[in-house]
């Protein structure tokens, strides 16, 4: 599983990245986490409000700092 955190480097994006790391650790699943800061890559996902969370190429959430539990739910649902 590959999880990407899209964000141009604002504080909210860092918070989401941290929450994602915690969520993956707690979920017990193996996932690769990548922080995407390149604006062109973010645009390719069609995302207009950051931070956004992408799992295996699918945009799961935009413009929101998800809680650790919400991210775990998304990982499980995937």
């Amino acid at each position: 599983m590959k999880i990407e955190v899209l964000g141009t480097g604002c504080s909210k994006c860092k918070t989401l990245e941290e929450a994602t790391k915690q969520a993956v650790a707690q979920s017990g699943q193996f996932a690769q986490i990548e922080k995407v800061e390149d604006i062109m890559k973010i645009m390719e996902y069609g995302v207009m409000s950051t931070p956004a969370l992408v799992i295996d190429g699918k945009v799961m959430s935009t413009g929101k700092v998800l809680s650790v539990n919400e991210i775990i739910e998304l990982i499980k649902a995937h």
């Binding site: 964000g7 141009t8 604006i39 973010i42 645009m43 207009m48 409000s49 950051t50 935009t62």
Partner: protein
Amino acid sequence: MWQESVNILVYEWLKMAYGERLSDALNFFIYDTVKILFLLTTIIFAVTLLRSYFSTEKVRVYLSKRHEYTGNILAALFGIITPFCSCSAIPLFLGFLQARIPLGVTFSYLISAPLNNEIAIAMLLTMFGWKVAALYIGFGLLVAIIGGIIIGRLGLEKEILIEVKPLEGELNVDEEKIAFKTRLKDAYDYTLNILQKIWLYVLIGVGAGAFIHGYVPTEFITSIAGGDNPFAVPLATLLGVPMYSNAAGVMPLIEVLTSKGMLMGTALSFMMAITALSLPEAMILKRIMSLKLIAIFFGTVTLGIIGVGYLFNALL
């Protein structure tokens, strides 16, 4: 009801003398803080809940089918009801252009969205009532619409430093079904988050306001920010720029200043400059726009805001 409770607290429980500067200032401070924090929570919660039904993605689909003028007007209106954060300014800007939305229409949105942010609207409603809030929003829309049309007419497309590839095919947004309960919870979390960020600024703002209320003579304020000073409006606009994102702290100050003789147009210009002209946003936008375009963008908005201030002062 609030005023009476505060009176009892200050004059009876704390046994402070009525009509003295210190007790008056303290009374004002407690009353204002409680009132503001309560109303702020309610309004931000309501606005956030309402906004959860509008996303920038939906707005983009809608705007991509419009032309100049109607596009500018709609873009400015959408700026009120969609959430905006300056950290999203770049993806939003490029996303609009990708959808072939004209540059001027995109700018109308980019001017209106930060101007009509939830904290500013909540503070305005709380401190000045709905009439001033409506004037602020109305004149803000005017600046956004006209500013966008002017920028659109200048043919500045080449001033964008990144090549924007238009999106292929039809734009579509998957309609997400979110339960009302989830929306309520999201709005609650968001409101709490905002309050944690701004409560200290509100306290400082009200504290400074209470000080002015009790200690600074009215004549002093009138001479600087009242009708006697013809440069009050541009001065207020320039002063507003470095106060970015501190609408929560500055609005209580403005309330006191207006009660002490600051003209309402000058106050409106000040408020608009605080929300619309943001240096951090300019720094962020520099990554994708030439300095020339940023200067034109900020210059147009500044002139618009100063115009609103003078116009309003002249009318009233």
